[in-house]
Symmetry: C2
Subunit: 344 residues, 2 copies
């Protein structure tokens, strides 16, 4: 059906090897190259990548494994990967692992069987994702967003601690003082890192203003911290709980976007509004600019995460034997109206 390199060779009166050279940048005289190109165009020839992969033992496809294709954070990341890959004519195969380690393992096996050129993986689990199979076979791998335990691969991460510190410092600068924190589950690295950033900022402030200590409960960084589940309902419950305390906070730093939605609802139910009560979401909310007041957020470098991972992967694929890298990307604070200050 489709024409092969042999057909083109015959039509152009040259050997298959010459046709191959024309398509792969080998040395061919201009005149013959032209003849080949014309014949190829006439026959609608396009090299069969399957045969090429089999012969060269490498594909021009990279696999991208993400836990949730419906999460904008990951789709933006996928765009970054795609754009970077396109520069070297790599195609990207997107695999949705659904936060399921088994499904993820199956896709990893597919990547091996398909001889993919490399794999970028946002691990379904830091504990249980196992990249050793790929490593054993020498397949280039880059982990992104989460670093799977015990794996020897390049990693690209978000600087959660700095982002949280900046965000909290911003709220302090805008005049909020009694800032609470709703973070994710205890033990999850992202929760812990974001909480740590918040604590650093509060600690720094208290050290700079020792006179202020009297305004706070015994230990604000623990009294006003709640561990939730990164989901809407968890954020709602945590916020309601914080508001019920005798020393009520005047602002809240929420460690992810879904919990921020829940916290917003709890505030509204308590008759509180931003910016009198400050609220800031770690992680973009698509409709952040549309709610009123618009929501201040920490923007995650999702696109760049993908772009960077793809670049690292291509380095590895080209056989550069440099030591393993961990790249940490910074977040960006998007100041909007929900943190204008308690008196604004």
């Amino acid at each position: 059906m489709a024409s092969t390199i042999q057909d083109v060779a015959k039509a152009a009166g040259v050997s298959a090897a010459t046709v191959s050279r024309v398509f792969n940048g080998g040395r061919v005289t201009a005149e013959r190259a032209e003849r080949v190109r014309r014949a190829a165009a006439e026959l609608g020839f396009a090299p069969n990548r399957v045969a090429r992969s089999l012969r060269t033992q490498r594909a021009s496809v990279i696999g991208l494994l993400i836990p949730d294709i419906e999460n904008p954070f990951f789709t933006a990341m996928a765009r970054g990967v795609e754009d970077a890959a396109q520069q070297t004519n790599l195609s990207v195969v997107l695999c949705n692992t659904d936060e399921d380690v088994d499904k993820e393992r199956r896709y990893l096996e597919v990547a091996l069987a398909e001889q993919m050129a490399g794999v970028i993986v946002a691990a379904a689990s830091r504990e249980r994702t196992d990249l050793s199979l790929l490593e054993a076979r020498g397949m280039p791998v880059v982990a992104v967003d989460r670093r799977p335990r015990g794996s020897n691969v390049d990693v690209v991460l978000v600087d959660n601690a700095h982002g949280s510190e900046d965000a909290t410092a911003h709220m302090l600068a805008r005049g909020y003082r009694r800032i609470a924190c709703i973070t994710g589950p205890q033990g999850a690295s992202t929760s812990e890192e974001r909480l740590a950033g918040y604590r650093t900022a509060i600690g720094d402030f208290l050290r700079a203003h020792p006179d202020r200590a009297g305004e706070y409960p015994v230990d604000p960084v623990t009294e006003w911290t709640r561990f939730a589940d990164f989901k809407v309902e968890g954020g709602h419950k945590a916020m309601a709980d914080l508001l019920a305390r005798p020393e009520r906070p005047d602002a809240v730093f929420v460690a992810n976007n879904l919990m921020a939605v829940g916290a917003l609802r709890a505030l509204r139910e308590a008759g509180l509004n931003a910016p009198e009560f400050g609220i800031l979401s770690f992680g973009e909310v698509p409709w952040a600019p549309m709610v009123s007041p618009s929501l201040t957020t920490v923007q995650l470098p999702s696109y760049d995460l993908g772009w960077t991972a793809a670049s690292l992967l291509q380095d590895r694929m080209s056989g550069k034997d440099r030591p393993l890298q961990t790249v940490v990307l910074r977040t960006a604070l998007q100041v909007r109206d929900s943190t204008s200050g308690p008196g604004a």
Copy 2:
């Protein structure tokens, strides 16, 4: 590096053909099959899919081309495709065409070169997307959401007209009378179909209540219709324009989710609120339940669109030679608070 079928054959003391039969359901005595399986497990053997594809001339990968991976409508569709494909052990390669016909064409060529088993495409353009290359080579193709002009492929579409008619009828039933419509660009099939549904519902109502005609401008279905661009700003401008008219509407049917966001803002700026002023969005808005009042929407069958397309594709792939199908899937009205009625 990775072990081949030959390695397994040697280890099990059989021929490569026998190993192949074990993995593909050929006739092999139980005892030898067992030996082969053991050897394969020991060597960590998994058949090389590239070689298999080259030999059999077909792959176990299908391509899914979508215009915008960051649009929840398409990611939900992708989930549907993926889930359906998984049932027959097909992998899905997701390609983001970015509403760009050239990029789309490149991906279509990749699909051919990679010998993919089939392609599902949400066309970047109804006019300019060209599937004839694939058709010429006999590759199974299903078009989804949009029917590219001049192509002979199975199609899965959304029933825009019925969905809009239902939605408009719902608003009428809730007591809104002066219902405006903001639709997409003139000429786009989705705009026209949604507008047509709105007109049908209004027309039916007026025919059933001829006494009401006096309450309306000369021709409500044209006076209160605005063509916008399916974007936030377009919706905002159209709504503001409608509100400036002497015969002000008391509700609006908005033909997509982004324009609904713009329309909401225009309403708020004019001091109008739902449900006194009714508003309904065609197409789900992720935060529809979270705004107050919660937004009534028409839910598109995005997941099922994908699932159905994948099923049709698999029929085609298995060589069933049935006539071309067009499947039209119905929408579902999600009634929330923004259309409780003008007196609610």
